[in-house]
């Protein structure tokens, strides 16, 4: 313990300068929060909501993935040359389908897997030779990973005991951590006697109780039902805001990612497709994979026939569509048009939209807050339109011939994704 603390002191000067903060203060704070917790008034993150950290300059690169690759078998790479910067205090979500390498990224950050190449830095310090137990990262696992033979209190006290805190201090911190996740008075229960939601709260409390600066969560809500999941999403977001810790969250549920994150990194086949705040990701996807993965969209394959500044003319089965150029493209390139279903109007005032087409209604489905209308347009079947279920929404019936339209800005020209189904 003492040795690595000393090491922190020694490397402190080079760390501190980069972040524009007095070097010794920063270094000892970092060292203390990881290795030797001191009274929380002057340490990393206190479990006390009032001491919320304000972002400081130089914190934008708190966690850095620098060309990180990972291969398990020496041939196929699960993570490919991944670059990523996470700011201090940020809530970043790695979103991707299963097998995309997002959990591997998290495990490498936690030190439970080793990168095949590349470097991961936390607060400027390379983690290459730092074992997981010295990283001081709080981690919430997919299936909670609570210790079934210990009571809730003992589970929470375990990281404190490891750090050599005295029993009184331990008890106080365990109590505060349980208050934070609203499980007061359950210290003496065993994990097996709690509901799934309660177990997950305990797992979150255990990852926070030793006041880490960085908390990782690996699909923590995957095993819970929808209502509980929503409740805990808000809970985790509240805790993130109250404590100001940096959180890296892994999920394959785009809704979850949208609800909680400051930024979402969409991961596919070991690389980041796009990293942006949720709204940007939804409104302005710049990869067709992202457009497909986040929310619903209509994809129309076509070929570029002309480029005028930001606007392209795209030929879709012989019909000309004007669309926003998102990716670089030239005349003749095959592209994919992405159009969000709720941005398409049915029977608009004539001449209102540049893109107006005749369509045939294939079917109409009532799903409560909106109607899902599928039409055939420009020779493409299964083109989805969402009509909000508000008073006076125009009723359409199967087999109707309707006119539909959308703006060039709402149809985005993306790469013709070769792997798309």
């Amino acid at each position: 313990m003492r040795a690595s603390r000393l090491a922190d002191r020694l490397i402190a000067p080079c760390l501190g300068d980069a972040r524009g903060e007095p070097a010794p203060a920063r270094a000892s704070r970092f060292a203390d929060s990881i290795i030797l917790p001191v009274p929380e008034s002057n340490t990393g993150v206190a479990l006390d909501p009032t001491s919320r950290r304000s972002p400081a300059a130089g914190d934008a690169e708190y966690v850095v993935f620098d060309r990180v690759s990972k291969s398990y078998d020496g041939r196929t790479r699960v993570v490919r040359e991944l670059d990523l910067q996470i700011a201090r205090g940020e809530f970043l979500t790695l979103l991707g389908p299963s097998g995309s390498g997002k959990t591997t990224c998290l495990m490498m950050l936690a030190g439970l897997e080793t990168p095949t190449s590349g470097v991961i830095r936390i607060a400027g310090r390379s983690m290459r030779h730092v074992p997981p137990r010295r990283r001081g990262i709080g981690m919430v696992f997919q299936h909670y990973a609570l210790f079934p033979h210990m009571t809730v209190g003992d589970n929470l006290a375990f990281p404190l005991e490891v750090r050599g805190l005295d029993p009184d201090d331990r008890r106080a911190r365990v109590r505060r951590a349980l208050e934070l996740v609203r499980l007061e008075g359950l210290e003496h229960r065993r994990p097996g006697q709690l509901s799934g939601g309660q177990q997950q709260r305990v797992a979150i409390a255990r990852a926070l109780v030793f006041e880490p600066d960085l908390v990782l969560m690996d699909e923590p809500l995957g095993a819970l039902d929808r209502l509980l999941r929503q409740e805990l999403q808000y809970e985790i977001r509240r805790i993130h805001r109250d404590l100001g810790v940096t959180m890296v969250y892994v999920t394959h549920d785009q809704h979850e990612a949208m609800v909680m994150s400051d930024r979402v990194a969409v991961v596919r086949a070991g690389a980041i497709e796009q990293i942006a705040p949720p709204a940007t990701l939804y409104e302005e996807p710049d990869r067709s994979f992202v457009a497909r993965f986040i929310g619903e969209n209509n994809r129309l394959p076509g070929r570029v026939t002309g480029v005028r500044g930001d606007i392209c003319d795209v030929d879709v089965s012989g019909r000309q569509v004007q669309a926003l150029r998102v990716v670089p493209c030239r005349t003749g390139d095959p592209v994919l048009l992405s159009i969000r279903p709720e941005r398409v109007s049915i029977a608009p005032a004539p001449g209102r939209y540049t893109n107006e087409f005749d369509a045939t209604v294939d079917d109409v489905t009532f799903v409560g807050d909106h109607l899902r209308v599928r039409v055939t347009v420009c020779g493409q079947p299964h083109f989805l339109i969402k009509i909000p279920n508000v008073v006076g929404h125009g009723a359409v019936l199967e087999g109707d011939r309707v006119r539909i339209g959308w703006t060039p800005a709402d149809s985005r020209v993306l790469d013709a994704d070769a792997d798309a189904p």
Binding site: A110, G111, L112, P131, P132, R133, R134, R135, G136, I137, G138, M139, F141, Q142, H143, A145, L146, F147, P148, H149, F158, P159, V162, R163, R190, P191, G192, Q193, R206, A207, F210
Partner: protein, 394 residues
């Protein structure tokens, strides 16, 4: 009884009947035999009747002599005399020949006075100790075998005392059996736990292969395995040859590794190892690998994570495996019989000896009863202290 219940009962009936006939009844018979011995009582009812009011010191009287003479003769004719004599001999050694000779000679005397006749045949009939022995042997229910098995004896005044030191056999034997079994259990745990850990954390293909290696002894005849140990461990065997070749042991100083306690411990540890590995392995398999990762992420190094997180979760498997190995070990017969020599014999070998050679089934039953009681006490202790049920919280 509801219909499903009747159905369930009908389905289990064959097994219940089988267990009853092959297990419960023989076990009960042996246990009854260890306290109930009617041979003498059935052969000499009248004699024992005459001795009922006797003070044990004076002369038993002519009526007793007459009854004894008549009933010994009848036992000889009915060919039960041998069994009667051997029962009496167990109470007082030397009595067998007295009884057998007397019965043979009594044929020559058509009538009494019987006291004079019998004293004439053998002086021992004048000794009250002989009659006391007959009276003792005539008890239908007796604690004699249990006293014997616990190295105790009943003195002539009826009090219980320990056997003289040179005749104390069974308590040291029981103690030896328990300590050796405990040692074998410890060895199995020390050898089996790491193996179970290895298998539980190996990739599926290799785990299957390793598990096959562990199970291999199960598919080999016990006799073959035990005799292979003789081949390996004997004075001119592989192990000794190796030691001599390496130079650790001189050729004339070869170590006795078999036909003693070393042989018993080595061979039994090998035979019983799978019984430790399998339960421990199955418990380890149920522990998610994330547990150790979580412990590491919370700041614990491997030793602490193992001791605080992993080991406690395997305790139910360790308990089950240890209990299994220990119970099997204290009742083990064939391996000590083959490789144990003189010093490596366990209590089961003496039970077998009394069943097959000395034909003292009562004593065999008593030894078996004590063994059974040991196992029962152990199981209850384990259940109370170890708390198998408490461990299953997942």
């Amino acid at each position: 009884m509801t219909r499903p219940a009747r159905r369930a009962a009908a389905l289990t009936l064959p097994l219940v009947a089988f267990t009853g006939v092959t297990f419960v009844i023989p076990l009960a018979t042996m246990l009854v035999r260890s306290v109930h011995d009617p041979v003498v009582a059935d052969a000499l009812p009248d004699t024992l009747d005459r001795l009922r009011g006797w003070d044990g010191q004076s002369d038993p009287g002519e009526a007793a002599y007459a009854a004894a003479a008549r009933e010994l003769l009848r036992a000889r004719e009915e060919r039960t005399l041998g069994r009667v004599a051997s029962r009496m001999n167990r109470v007082r050694s030397g009595l067998r020949s007295v009884v057998v000779r007397s019965a043979r000679r009594l044929q020559d005397f058509p009538d009494g006075p019987w006291r004079a006749v019998m004293l004439d045949i053998d002086d021992d009939w004048g000794d009250p100790a002989t009659w006391r022995a007959i009276r003792t042997a005539g008890d239908r229910f007796t604690a004699r075998h249990y006293l014997n098995a616990a190295d105790l004896q009943r003195l002539s005044d009826g009090s219980i005392a320990r056997q003289p030191p040179d005749q104390r056999i069974y308590l040291p034997l029981l103690w030896r059996t328990l300590t050796v079994s405990l040692g074998i259990t410890g060895l199995c745990l020390a050898l089996g736990y790491p193996i179970a850990y290895l298998i539980a954390h190996a990739p599926p293909g290799r785990a299957g292969f390793l598990l096959g290696l562990v199970l291999l002894p199960f598919w080999t005849s016990l006799l073959v395995r035990t005799t292979s140990w003789i081949v390996l461990l004997q004075t001119q065997g592989v192990v000794n040859d190796l030691l001599v070749a390496v130079g650790l042991v001189a050729d004339d100083g070869r170590i006795a590794l078999v036909y003693n306690m070393t042989g018993t411990v080595v061979a039994m540890t090998h035979v019983l190892l799978p019984f430790m590995v399998l339960p421990v392995y199955s418990i380890m398999r149920a522990i998610p690998p994330q547990q150790m990762r979580a412990a590491a992420s919370l700041g614990a190094g491997f030793p602490r994570a193992f001791l605080r997180v992993y080991w406690p979760q395997t305790l139910s498997g360790v308990g089950a495996g240890s209990l299994l190995v220990f119970i099997l070990a204290i009742g083990y017969y064939i391996t000590p019989a083959l490789v144990g020599g003189q010093s490596g014999q366990l209590i089961s070998n003496f039970i077998a000896y009394h069943m097959q050679t000395s034909l003292n089934w009562g004593l065999a039953g008593a030894l078996g009863g004590i063994l059974l009681a040991c196992v029962a006490v152990l199981y209850l202790l384990f259940d109370r202290v170890g708390g198998l049920e408490r461990m299953r919280l997942r």
